[in-house]
Subunit: 208 residues, 2 copies
């Protein structure tokens, strides 16, 4: 399978398919039609078939997709047949919520280290972690070869922290700081900003 | 201006343009070229021009866009020339982080009520709010006519809570619960799930 020409918007939907399929498997289903998947995705059956066709022939006309086969294939495509270690940088309310979040463990993600720079926070326990000082961050990441970081520092510290992470060898950053990071082209960045998502819906709500 | 045929993927980028333009205005800039915008967006100048062309002629060949004019227009398009009240349902770590989040106020969003159902949480203060019991949620929302909710309840409570919100008149839900909600077609739903964003990047990271 070559994935070189798969549009990023298709890639962005694959984790979502995987999650829905895992729910369906838990519900005891074995096969699923493209229209059932489309219903849960809020898209169309044609869209589902087109998305999945990038990665080979998963389904059969009339019988639908094998849920287990599709889960297995999607996990391979997304490189989820391994555990990915991540670091969390910034232990405010949000960082704390993420450290305690139960949804990582069974979905291929393991928190390895948690960093902050505040003397009142460094050395404290959050969940099962002791918060480390950012001074050791570059060395810690280099030593372990971790590639993924979650950035939950204040906006005005985000760029400098991201620069350090890149220096340490991080290749993918999930940032909660509402600022656009300027980073080398080979670094993957995703932003989570509730305001952008809310504003997007406001377009459709029209005048209040 | 008619916006009926604007693809949702374009709409999803408008809040992001607005945010970048606001930063540029703070930096003291007055005009911006499509390629400067593209740089900060991580897209192309052609993409920027195409996105903005849906909403009229903002820029002039050679001189770029007026930042203030563009901010003003984007705010109108996104219905941000008013304050939108929201409710937050679920006061765990994440709900607490959102209640205290400083980024809503100056971006058109105001938290009106915060709800939970746990006796240890209902009645406590979080930030400047007293947590209300979900029993009063439907009545509170109906009375105020609020249209937007942020859902931070556990996964197994998400669907039932969303159903109540819709019954109360909510039209847009930002859900942090990692489950697909089944709701009427006229309800707008956005999901924030850090795992989906991380998995999307793992596709590009290849084998560890």
């Amino acid at each position: 399978m070559t994935h070189e020409f798969v549009p990023d918007v298709v890639i962005s939907r694959l984790p979502w398919y995987l999650q829905i399929l895992n729910h369906m498997a838990k519900e005891g289903l074995h096969t699923v039609s493209s229209s059932m998947l489309a219903d849960r995705m809020g898209s169309s059956a044609a869209q589902v078939r087109k998305d999945l066709s990038f990665f080979g022939e998963f389904g059969k006309q009339g019988t639908g997709y094998s849920i287990y086969l599709l889960i297995d294939q999607l996990q391979k495509i997304l490189n989820l047949d391994q555990i990915w270690q991540v670091v969390i940088v910034g232990v405010g309310d949000l960082g704390r919520a993420l450290v305690r979040y139960q949804g990582f463990a069974n979905r291929g993600i393991e928190i390895a280290y948690v960093f902050d720079n505040h003397p009142n926070i460094v050395g404290t326990r959050v969940g099962s972690f002791t918060v480390r000082h950012v001074n050791s961050m570059v060395a810690d990441i280099r030593e372990t070869g971790i590639k993924i970081a979650i950035l939950t520092v204040p906006s005005d510290a985000a760029q400098a922290t991201a620069d350090c992470l890149v220096e340490a060898g991080i290749k993918a950053i999930l940032s909660y700081a509402p600022v656009a990071l300027m980073l080398p082209k080979d670094i993957h960045v995703q932003y989570i900003d509730p305001v952008l998502r809310l504003q997007r819906m406001m377009y459709y709500l029209g005048d209040n």
